[in-house]
Symmetry: C2
Subunit: 181 residues, 2 copies
DNA sequence: ACCCTATCCTAGAGCCTCTAGGCAATGGGT
DNA sequence: ACCCATTGCCTAGAGGCTCTAGGATAGGGT
């Protein structure tokens, strides 16, 4: 019974019942032990949730890195974005966890995401000074899309997958013809 | 003591202590009555939160509509986006409430947001078939940006306001030179 | 006067968080 | 072999949030 296994179980629980329902009680129930017993392993419920957040961000970065491997330009953009969206769809609870306010514990994982996104830009020709803005644009759009999709914000007006492909087309064109400041 | 005043108080509470801390108990405390007394006014805590969500989406749509009035093209885009971001910064708790999964009660407010976003497109020349994709791109980017900013995701790498302006520049250029499918 | 409804109350059950303190097994050092 | 510290779990219990059931009260309409 390591803290690691515990966090993994919490992540699985999150995907099953939603991150907001990840409680110490529910986890204890799943392990067949008393609530109080958990507090030897974990400081408190808050910390448990942060660890799940950190796990999610790390997994997501791993998969994004994988998607990027050996690709560049448009291929890299699409593969990265799809890794992002696929992860959110496969692991909704984990993904939601990743949206917790950035804590010291998750700051390094968050930095990795920025660096990976920045790697995409190497396939386009943007001035160095524009990189930070482009990274934020991509991050925002990917995250915004998957969270609105997940919340049902796109439910009543046409094919969500088609829009996603089109949005990636448009972002590719935008990076390829990045307007001068 | 109408349901409306109650929801308004809940929204204020959300902005002060965070949406996740809006509880029936906290609200009752603020009104100086017992928890149980609230259940004559409100079905349950879930409904209270949904009403706050609906209030937030409606207020946000009102302000976005105001920002759009009399503007078109790039002006409209920037004013709309700023209305969005300003609202999120001024009313963090309400904004967070607006991200609840779309319920039947909030579906009409959500539709209004789509229509307002669509109004921006009238200042650009996009084929009708592209509108749904462009609306989703804009929504995603605005929402993604303000929520990542709020969560602290942009904390460690430069001026967030400058990036915001630049992102809007880029979106303007993207809408102006929308790539063919 | 009488009733009715709105508003609030107490009591209490159920779930979640977390602290304090205890007990038993395990396994390493002597 | 023996001791003892650590580990992992336990019970007990306090306190907060949610919600139901049922009761008091007071003002307004008939």
């Amino acid at each position: 019974m390591t803290a690691e296994r515990l966090v993994l179980a919490a992540a699985e629980l999150a995907d099953e019942v939603g991150f907001e329902n990840v409680t110490v009680s529910a986890l204890a129930r799943r392990f067949g032990i008393r609530d109080a017993s958990f507090y030897s392993h974990i400081r408190n419920a808050q910390e448990l949730r942060e660890q799940v957040s950190r796990l999610a961000l790390t997994e997501l970065a791993d998969q994004a890195a994988n998607a990027l491997a050996g690709r560049s330009g448009r291929d890299a953009l699409v593969a990265f974005a799809n890794a992002y969206r696929d992860y959110a769809r496969r692991h909704p609870g984990r993904y939601a966890a990743g949206q917790l306010p950035v804590s010291p514990a998750t700051a390094d994982a968050a930095r990795r995401h920025s660096e990976l996104t920045r790697a995409i830009l190497r396939g386009y020709e943007l001035p160095e000074a524009e990189h930070v803005h482009a990274v934020r644009l991509l991050h925002s759009t990917f995250h915004g899309y998957v969270s609105l999709e997940r919340a049902g914000g796109f439910d009543h007006s046409g094919d969500v997958a088609a829009s996603w492909r089109r949005v990636l087309d448009v972002l590719d064109a935008t990076l390829a013809h990045w307007p001068a400041p």
